[in-house]
Symmetry: C2
Subunit: 405 residues, 2 copies
């Protein structure tokens, strides 16, 4: 029913995208300016970081989206435009220059930045690059746009799915940048999603705000909630489905399609965390309520000691019990079972809160894989949650020991 398709943010009808190197980043082979454009004005919804220190572009975008409408997303990498005295001015300038170049309203521009915080952002390369950026727009431009929002990411993150609403084929796709400073709280890293489904602004925002609670807010790379997190969805209605204006079956179909895209991007972000060699997926089951399940899953995925053990393929389950214990969740320790799983199999390492005999050799084989499942059964009810993260490696330290140079 939800079929994976190519095209990322250009999969949905009426969207083009592109990315160029304009000169913010020193490395000329890396794109540093991206654009996504809808042929017609789109309904827009967004969520933002809860960090009190906010990137200037977020403030400008929030203002622009007061009318729930957008036509374009512009985003630079290499500089977060955060903690700069003239940040708002520069973010406004980026919107106006793009709007003028395209003949649209500046209010219809979503603006975003990512990169180092607190370095002055020179707007000149952006201003000079905008004509070239507009010229680079292409129906197959999602990958170039995805490249332009990357910082320490090593992999392009894009995904799209196709689905049916009342007999009309709709598509939804997205691109993301993740890597470091990832511990979203009511928002996430930079994620831009496009769809040709017709949906009201209220329900688009509701779908997004609800979805992130179980997706982007369940990802953590390093416990640092960024200043520039934003997820934005543009829905241009060009699929010509009857507009989704109430919480009916069509809305549920849309929610599931959105969730397929966001979970896909979460896994890509977690698996490509700074320095990561492994994607960790922590699944908690048998919780007495959803909050407990989430709290446990997130605590385990955030534990530096657990993350380092996973890097070493060491089945040190005591650290998982420890992280459950300090999570703040109300759990009965003597009921907890823990298993590790991967493509190589599943192994039970802890039963009723105490260790069981297990083959260290088999555990090592399982944990040497690139995708590890940490399965926690609380045996205390029927609620579940999943969180995504990555291992803690030498390269995380290397990348972040001297990020600015």
């Amino acid at each position: 029913m939800y079929e994976l398709v190519n095209g990322g943010v250009c999969a949905a009808k009426g969207f083009r995208a592109g990315g160029i190197h304009c000169g913010i980043r020193k490395n000329r082979t890396k794109n540093d300016l991206s654009l996504i454009v809808s042929e017609v004005p789109a309904t827009a919804a967004a969520v933002y970081t809860t960090n009190k220190v906010k990137g200037a572009p977020l403030e400008v975008t929030r203002k622009h989206l007061e009318n729930h409408r957008a036509r374009a997303v512009i985003c630079n990498s290499g500089n977060a435009n955060t903690c700069n005295s003239n940040g708002i001015e520069i973010a406004e300038q980026m919107s106006v220059l793009l709007a003028d170049g395209m003949g649209i309203d500046a209010d219809d521009v979503v603006v975003a930045s990512t990169g180092v915080i607190g370095q002055p952002l020179n707007p000149e390369p952006i201003a000079a690059g905008i004509p070239q950026l507009i010229a680079a727009l292409d129906e197959n431009g999602s990958r170039e746009a995805a490249l332009g929002i990357m910082t320490t990411d090593t992999k392009v993150k894009e995904i799209a799915v196709s689905f049916q609403i009342s007999g009309k084929e709709c598509k939804i796709g997205g691109i993301a940048k993740g890597s470091g400073m990832i511990h979203p709280n009511m928002a996430t890293m930079l994620v831009f999603i496009t769809t040709d489904a017709a949906i009201s602004d209220t329900l688009l925002q509701k779908a997004l705000s609800g979805d992130i609670q179980n997706t982007f807010n369940m990802v953590s790379i390093d416990g640092d909630t960024s200043t520039n997190d934003m997820v934005c969805v543009l829905a241009n209605g060009m699929a010509e489905n009857p507009c989704i204006c109430e919480e009916n079956g069509d809305f549920e179909i849309f929610m599931k399609a959105l969730n397929t895209v966001t979970v896909g991007l979460c896994r890509m972000i977690a698996g490509d965390g700074e320095g990561a060699t492994k994607l960790l997926e922590c699944k908690v089951r048998g919780a007495k309520d959803a909050q407990t399940a989430k709290c446990v899953a997130k605590s385990v995925i955030c534990s530096s000691l657990t993350k380092a053990a996973m890097f070493g393929a060491d089945a040190n389950w005591g650290r998982i019990l420890c992280a459950i214990g300090y999570s703040g969740a109300d759990v009965d320790v003597t009921k907890i079972d823990v298993s590790f799983a991967s493509d190589k199999g599943t192994i039970l390492v802890c039963k009723d809160g105490a260790g069981v005999d297990f083959s260290e050799e088999k555990a090592k084989e399982i944990l040497l894989e690139e995708e590890i499942n940490i399965l926690i059964e609380l045996n205390d009810g029927g609620a579940a949650a999943t969180a995504w993260g990555c291992d803690l490696t030498y390269d995380y330290v290397k990348i972040n020991g001297d990020y600015r140079t």
Copy 2:
């Protein structure tokens, strides 16, 4: 008034200590069993981890201290005796064997364990070693005891001060083990403190419980709150001061002496965090209340990105603003100033929430030192707080990637 003296936990009158290798740890050159004994029954107070997964020794100690009295502390390293089905039994057995060997009540024994979680603890080496442990007790035995509670610690942690109460010389001293899994919450790592001051059980507990809020609870190595944290104080009254039984001037003197010892141990624990090359001290001033100051200081000291930047001697102050922003504290970002300081000088890097021009060369020189101060002025009131931590290094990952082997 508070003079640093030698002797650690043996500085106070009537205390002896010792440590031996009994065979829990494979490396025969490392002590793994420690003992501290008071000549006479002592008033005792303790605080414990808030982790819901608790080491069995903590449960046994809590029961033993119901009468607020203790004579001896026994502690093994190499195994935390946590998440073992027979953990309570083994901890009880350790108490009974020691009590029998010394002719004291088992209820007067504080028992503790540190090391790997969830591995069966073989009590035989402990049972066999107790006679040798008792024989090793010495008035100069603090260092041997401090060695016996170390795990991945690289430095012995002991301190003592002398002070006067009503004309009587009193002493208070302590030993600690820190290193990894350090993010105390209402308690701390293993810390044993002895004093010959006479003080009531109620005030001893009050002094300890109050003190840790600004000392051990303000230390973080890796954000992981251990299952086995405990701070315990024994006060045997042998200094013969008039017993401190009310919150008078003598109590204040005692509180300050205790604080000198606990701050000293906090700095040692933070500076010797797993893999650490630097001690980080974050001082927050100008907060509107103490809670805000603490919240900001702790958030900065816990930020993986800030810690990695300090390892790289990179003055990446944007990460500090970011950590303040996500701390949850109610602060006005546009008023915040940030400076870095060390023995090489002080440098302002952020004023009113935005970057200022500064010499990267000078900043590097300051940050290459082994003790770094991160100074945050909130310009929003008169409250202050200090938190201690360390940098995040390759060695943290190395140590924790394969701790069990």
